[in-house]
């Protein structure tokens, strides 16, 4: 085999051949010396034969590559400035792209760390969270405990059907014998949850079906790995640790495998507790025994060989039977009509489910497009640099070709140099990306704690970075390599002042600059758009005064309160006591404040026929001081008062949209309405101004408020309006709370303004990052303009010298060069505006509230790009005017 044969062996064979031939000639009578010479002559060119042998061997290409590699490394080290600029430019481009990809990977793409994630399916699409007691009548997403058990018993297509409560609980408890209450995130799961997902314990055991049999009888918990690390200091004896939550002592039975954070990406519970303990964990929202209390996500594992379609068919068959059974034999025709629309769409749960994913998917995709544009601009810059360098190296190439190097050899060598640059840039980029993506997570996280996301580079991130690097090498390296080696030997070696061959190069470089200008302009315009949308949102009229308001989170459930008269009394006393704190103007509880979700339900209004065009109704249970604390002004009628109690008629305050929609043309005061499947006979006593309730960009909701004095139950948000400094206030509110019940945990003091800001956090991040990247793009593009013009001017030094010798004044020369710049800029700007408009239209379809042709944003972008571009062109132009004609004529 030639593969293993060494060149020395081959040489020995040739040697032996020549000797054998010489022997033969000697036998024929030649002298030894003559025979030897004749034998050599007959053989021909020994070196050529050896070379041919070498080239045919499989290692030749590798050896060549190695030589090119070493040579390339030497060339790059010889011009450190060029290499540094190139590598840094590439690192920025590749790093930015990889950082955004890391985030996409962590949030959108990566599979859950469970056994065979591709077999997992979710019932519904996970777009709802909370609970409902309506009969299923639509695409259904939440399920009851009873439904879970029926699905477990009656479906034949799953190896396991498990459930998790759709809302995690941010509760409070004390660990071991500690007296201090601390925040503990709890997720309620079915007993077979871990078994269904295939998650093993790192310590002790996980939950099993026997932990989830009788309500209230299984005070056990599994700790998450990170909580065990953080809170229990990785204690090997953690199993058996007691945790007191809301008066129930839970025993930790084990620790889940590292990396497992449940099936919701971006949420990381500390403890998993069996669903059977629902009433103990969540005293306000409970209903294990109510077949229609639907609050669970169901996640199931497909049996081997079952397709999603087969599973869907079987699941819906069972679902239909369950729903009919719930409707009962006396179901009305209307009920039957409605439940006939009940349907479950199975979706893959391989990558888990995530509200975060829906929130950030679009921003991330936009950012990805932006960084790809930056990467392209960076590539164009590097390509331009390489083109210029190839121009400088023409004589070197010509020389090497004239002593026998083939063009393909030169192209290969240039590509190896490009790859070296690319790899160095890519490697540096991965490091940049690592740091940047950690920073990005902090930016995306609206709250004080960073989102539990793992953005450390894994295999797919590294693979992505490598692929991007290869692609960029091809993008920036190929054309310069082909162009640069197209050398006309005789003219290149002779070349001194000629400009032959540069016009084509220049055209290419110019097109690259035009493309850069267009892309940067698009990015600047885009950033401008996002900034304006953000600023519009931030200055939008929310309908309430967000300043000087603290939202205090009071977690009475964790302190062992039940939904009873004691709770009710404590809440009323707490409101009174906090209102009396010096500096507090008003205080009132609310079910939801701003951006905490809402309670949606239809209303029935006598005399009004419901239609699909009616706005959605948002309901809120509040304390007497709430509307005053929020500064939501009463326009008509009266505010709630302490006389609205359980004994008096049920009252409601509605907003303008509610009044306009349901009581058109008449005074709503004194009218009544009822909540479908809920409270009847609610009498309107007042109309309050419209406001934003769930998000800043929502369309107007019809809203109604009810005093909790008439509808008791858990409320966790105490809204406090104050004057003066909030600092001492926090302490005073804590004191006031402790006077009423020292065990009542107060978790957070959140300024309302901050909650409003946090609700547009992902938009803010997009706007900021877009601005950052747009600035980077403009910078790169101006470097590109500068480079191309500098090069062009250096080629034309001679020409300028002649012109100036013949009488051209500096202004003429300056104008000649600037005209050049203006030409490039004009084409780039026109193309850029067109691109910006097209992209704007695309973004408009993704993001609510964007005007694609915002003239201000585009005008600013055009001005900025032109100004920066002209400056970048002016620098070399000024140099051109300083040319001394005598020196210029002698140039080169």
């Amino acid at each position: 085999m030639s593969f293993g044969r060494k060149p020395a062996d081959f040489n020995a064979e040739i040697e032996s051949h020549i000797e054998l031939e010489a022997d033969r000639l000697r036998q024929q009578g030649m002298t030894a010396e003559a025979a030897r010479l004749a034998a050599r002559r007959a053989f021909g060119n020994v070196t050529a034969a050896e070379e041919r042998y070498y080239e045919s061997s499989r290692w030749a290409w590798f050896d060549g590559l190695l030589r090119n590699f070493v040579f390339g490394l030497r060339t790059l080290v010889k011009s450190p400035g060029f290499s540094a600029v190139t590598i840094l430019t590439l690192a920025l481009g590749i790093g930015a792209t990889t950082a955004i990809f890391s985030l996409m990977n962590a949030i959108l793409l990566r599979n859950l760390p469970v056994r065979q994630p591709s077999e997992l399916v979710l019932f519904g699409d996970g777009r709802a969270a909370g609970d409902t007691t309506a009969l299923p009548n639509d695409d259904w997403r939440l399920f009851s405990y009873d439904m879970l058990h029926q699905f477990q018993r009656r479906t034949r297509v799953f190896s396991d059907v498990a459930a998790v409560r759709s809302t995690p609980f941010g509760t409070h408890g004390s660990v071991a014998s500690g007296a201090q209450m601390e925040k503990i995130g709890v997720e309620l799961v079915s007993g077979n949850y871990f078994q269904a997902l295939g998650v093993n314990p790192a310590l002790g055991r996980v939950l099993n079906p026997s932990d989830d049999l009788a309500p209230g009888a299984h005070p056990v918990a599994v700790a998450s790995y990170s909580w065990w690390q953080r809170r229990l200091s990785r204690s090997p004896t953690a199993a058996g640790t007691k945790v007191n939550i809301a008066g129930t002592m839970y025993s930790i039975v084990g620790v889940a495998a590292p990396g497992f954070q449940g099936i919701s990406v971006g949420q990381a519970p500390d403890l998993w507790v069996p669903l059977a303990m629902e009433k103990q964990i969540s005293p306000g929202w409970t209903g294990l025994d109510n077949v229609l209390f639907q609050s669970l996500y169901i996640v199931a594992r497909l049996s081997p060989g079952v397709t999603l379609a087969q599973a869907g068919a079987n699941t819906n068959l069972v679902f239909e039977q369950i729903v009919h059974q719930y409707a009962g034999p006396k179901a009305t025709l209307k009920d039957l009509e409605q439940i006939s629309h009940a349907h479950i769409q199975l979706t893959s749960a391989a990558a888990g489910l995530s509200r975060l994913r829906r929130q950030v998917a679009t921003p991330l995709k936009i950012l990805m497009a932006v960084v790809v544009a930056v990467l392209l601009i960076a590539c164009a810059n590097v390509a331009n640099l390489l083109l210029a360098r190839a121009g400088v190296r023409r004589r070197e190439f010509a020389l090497r070709m004239s002593i026998g190097a083939t063009r393909s050899r030169l192209v290969r060598q240039l590509l190896v140099e490009s790859s070296l640059l690319g790899l160095a840039g890519g490697g540096l980029g991965v490091f940049l990306a690592w740091g940047a993506s950690t920073l990005l997570v902090l930016m995306v996280s609206a709250g004080p704690d960073p989102l539990p996301l793992n953005v450390a580079p894994d295999l797919s991130v590294l693979g992505f970075a490598l692929a991007v690097t290869m692609l960029t090498v091809i993008l920036f390296g190929t054309v310069p390599a082909l162009r640069g080696t197209r050398v006309d030997l005789s003219s290149s070696l002779k070349e001194s002042r000629g400009i032959a061959g540069t016009s084509a190069r220049n055209r290419l470089a110019r097109s690259l600059v035009v493309a850069q200008v267009a892309l940067s302009l698009t990015l600047v315009a885009g950033a401008g758009l996002f900034l304006r949308v953000l600023s519009n949102l931030e200055h939008i009229d929310t309908g309430f005064d967000r300043n000087h308001v603290l939202v205090v989170n009071v977690d009475a459930g964790s302190a062992g309160y039940q939904d009873d008269a004691r709770l009710h009394r404590t809440m009323l006393r707490l409101e009174d006591r906090v209102s009396a704190v010096p500096g507090v103007q008003a205080a009132g509880f609310a079910l939801t404040v701003f951006a905490q979700g809402g309670w949606g339900a239809d209303v029935t209004v006598p005399g009004h026929t419901a239609s699909d065009s009616d706005p959605d109704v948002d309901h809120n249970r509040v304390g007497v001081g709430y509307l005053r604390a929020m500064r939501m002004p009463i326009l008509l009628g009266r505010d709630f008062s302490s006389r609205d109690t359980l004994g008096s008629p049920d009252v409601a305050i509605i907003n303008e949209t509610f009044a306009r929609t349901f009581f058109p043309g008449i005074s709503p005061l004194g009218r009544t309405f009822s909540i479908a499947n809920g409270w009847p006979n609610l009498q309107v006593i007042g109309v309050v101004r419209d406001a934003k309730y769930i998000s800043l960009q929502e369309k107007p909701y019809a809203a109604a408020f009810y005093p909790y004095a008439q509808h008791p139950g858990f409320l966790e948000n105490l809204v406090v309006r104050y004057t003066g400094d909030p600092g001492p206030l926090v302490r005073r509110i804590r004191q006031a709370t402790a006077e009423i019940d020292p065990n009542l945990p107060i978790a957070d003091f959140m300024p309302l303004g901050q909650m409003v800001n946090a609700s547009v956090q992902s938009r803010r991040v997009v706007a900021k990052l877009c601005t950052l990247f747009a600035i980077l793009a403009v910078l790169l593009a101006s470097i590109g303009i500068y480079g191309v013009l500098s090069y062009a001017i250096s080629r034309r030094t001679n020409e300028f010298g002649i012109r100036m010798a013949l009488g051209a004044v500096r202004r003429d020369v300056l104008w000649m060069v600037l005209r050049d710049t203006l030409g490039l800029l004009a084409i780039g700007v026109v193309a850029g505006v067109a691109m910006a408009l097209a992209c704007g239209r695309f973004v408009e379809s993704l993001v609510y509230g964007v005007r694609p042709d915002d003239p201000v944003a585009i005008a600013i972008a055009v001005l900025l790009m032109t100004a920066v571009g002209l400056f970048a062109g002016w620098l070399p132009a000024r140099r051109a005017t300083r040319i001394d004609p005598m020196r210029a004529l002698r140039y080169e």
């Binding site: 030639s2 032996s16 051949h17 054998l20 022997d23 007959a42 021909g44 034969a49």
Partner: protein
Amino acid sequence: MSTQERLELLQGTLDLLILRTLIFGPRHGQGIARAIQETSADELLVEHGALYPALQRLESRQWISARWGVSDNNRRARFYTLTRAGRQQLLNETNKWRRLAAAIGRVLGPETEA
């Protein structure tokens, strides 16, 4: 006869000739070159240097195998042997060559004295 008047080998025919020469048993490179020249009555010119890449090629296709041995006059030499696959290849190529030669002969017509 001077070298100029010898016939240059057609592309690809050297492989065939080498295989044919080895049909009588193992030979070393110089022996193969010599044998081709002699059996063709000195009509064919084999540039010895061109022989080795050809041998290399045939060896890598496993039509011949090679082993170092000792020549008649006690010199170390690399001996080549025809493999089973090589024998088959020789058969195919010989047939092909004969058909080609006959076909070209027919096209050129009966031999005429110039």
